[in-house]
Amino acid sequence: MNAVPIRRRLWRAFHRLGSPPYVYRLAGRLSPWLGVTSCVLLAVGAFWGLVLAPPDYLQGDSFRIIYIHVPSAYLSMGGYVLMAVAAAIGYIWRMKLAHGLAVCVAPLGAWFTALALVTGGIWGKPTWGTYWEWGDARLMFELLLLFLYIGYMVLRMSFDDREKADRVSALLAVVGVVNVPIIHYSVEWWTTLHQGPTLIREGGPSITMDMLIPLLIMLAGFSLFFGWLLCKRLQGEILRRESRTRWVRTLAAEAGA
């Protein structure tokens, strides 16, 4: 029998996540699976949402934008939480790999935030009669989220010393996380243009099954897509941060041969 208790084994597994060569290989092994699965889910979900799902009784066919808008918005917020948690772990335990993860989330999160804003604007035109409304709380706080991502990246660029950039930018990431619950509850606290929540609300989702299933498929597809790109970016980031170590030099020499 294996004498190692389960708790110690879990602890060891956790510690391995702090080891750059282990995470580099893990990301490399995961990424093709994430890539293929996400592309299949996205194709199935988009076809289901665009063709098979019935039109909305109120909004007609424009509601189909929900299948890209909601997953983008969800990733913009989920990505920020991931970035803030990683940055906090990096700050508290001085774990470079966690800072590296936060750095990789930032551009992806910023792109999905921009996507949420743009697809929301396009959806708003036929539904509200306008692309953009300065008075809507949800729109404003989502825009603030984009500025937080951009601020994080610009702040890092202003430091030559990577370690200093890690520590200062982590503070911004952690403080900014307050914005995420505000975005979520904004449609309940201030009733302006943006419609209420569809999925995470009291009494369960306010959407029929034939509209809900493609949305769940798209949410899974977007998440795995995000994970896929995060793995690739993390690999690049680890190579940059560990460029002086023996294992990275060996790896580069082997890849070049």
Partner: protein
């Protein structure tokens, strides 16, 4: 087919939103792969330079 493209008069909105999303996602996938490839290429370049520097020069041998 026309029904799907037209989207009950909302075609331009639906298809432009999906089009933008597709472009952004493809760009991000390309950028993520380039990010890793660039890092690897830079390491190989640095490794090659170091190798040539490590070789003894004529003067050192003499």
């Amino acid at each position: 087919m026309n029904e799907i493209l037209g989207m009950g008069g909302h075609g331009p909105y639906v298809w432009s939103a999906y089009g933008v999303t597709l472009v952004v996602m493809v760009y991000n996938a390309w950028a993520a792969y380039r990010h890793q490839a660039n890092a690897l290429a830079r390491l190989q370049q640095a490794g090659a330079e170091q190798e040539t520097r490590a070789k003894p020069t004529v003067r050192q041998i003499g």
